[in-house]
Symmetry: C2
Subunit: 198 residues, 2 copies
């Protein structure tokens, strides 16, 4: 019976990192348990002990990438108390991760693509998005409560903030020449603060 | 030597539609020339006559979906002359296609995922995005010229409009319960018109 991945377990972490490297190199369509075992330096038997199949690996890789993004966003906003500063820090951290770490998108695109036709991955993808909206919602809610932002529907506004960051990060990943990350950061801030202004 | 797909050719169109159905059913990772030939009702020899490999099929499918989106956006804005009406029509048409036609995303996610590690698909994906920004840019540029919108950087603003629509369409595709398409349409309009207001 495959074991639930334990974030403190070094070997499962090594396997997850190997999965992400394989995805970045050749995508989900080329991922096989055999190639993954070779990349992680373990036998296929060991691999199956930790993860049932490539789907389970993908779900674990997405969890790993989201944890990393959360960690960086928290680090970036650690010394900021007011909601506008926290929102700026979140935009900066998200764009930095999404544009500098190509493996971020290789994992998410695999998860998105598979979740459209895979009934087991769809709820994992849905939960990942709900988690991201909730993290942003905490900042928006604080800003409304403390009078920095105009009253808005927290869930809808969080969805739009996430949409703008996701969408522009994708375009910057696909094409490095039409806009700099710094310009994108400034323009995201401007558009969102215009909307949230009292 | 495989022939360049001709949009007026019925058989290549049939093959493209079969590709899109296969992608929607089981994703790019499960797409094989054999399965595709069966779905399209042609021999593998015929399939190879039209398209070299599954990559070429994916590129053709993406072109087909973009043409369809352009057509619907033009149809929606046919009787609208001013830029604000055209922008509203474009938002409405884009969200409608992206949320009602699941195959839209199955094609794009396959293209995105593969373009990250495939040197032949990356420029096709990049060009697809440049084309979308240019179409939106025409509306923004008209609005600025006619005094409906405040002067903005056309390319950057088009990128943000596309980002917001892309990003929220994705979330609505993954989860039908946190927000309605109609609410998303209204909120996209509100955020973008606040930014473009003089």
């Amino acid at each position: 019976m495959p074991r639930k991945p334990d974030p403190n377990n070094t070997r499962s972490n090594e396997i997850i990192r190997a999965t992400i490297r394989c995805l970045a190199r050749s995508g989900f369509s080329q991922l096989t348990m055999k190639r993954l075992a070779a990349e992680a330096g373990v036998s296929q038997g060991i691999l199956h002990y930790y993860f049932r199949d490539k789907r389970a690996m993908l779900a674990a890789a997405a969890g790993h990438v989201m944890d990393d993004l959360d960690f960086r966003a928290r680090l970036e906003s650690a010394n900021r108390r007011d909601a506008p500063s926290r929102l700026r820090a979140m935009i900066k951290a998200s764009l930095a991760v999404a544009t500098a770490n190509r493996e971020f998108w290789t994992v998410f695109m695999a998860l998105w693509g598979e979740s459209l036709h895979d009934g087991a991955l769809a709820p994992i993808n849905k939960a990942t998005y709900a988690r991201a909206r909730k993290a942003i919602g905490g900042i928006v809610e604080q800003g409304v409560r403390e009078g920095d932002f105009t009253p808005v529907n927290i869930v809808h506004t969080s969805a739009m903030i996430l949409a703008l960051i996701d969408g522009i990060s994708l375009q910057l990943t696909f094409d490095k020449n039409f806009m700099t990350v710094a310009s994108a950061e400034r323009l995201c801030e401007k558009i969102l603060f215009q909307h949230l202004a009292k």
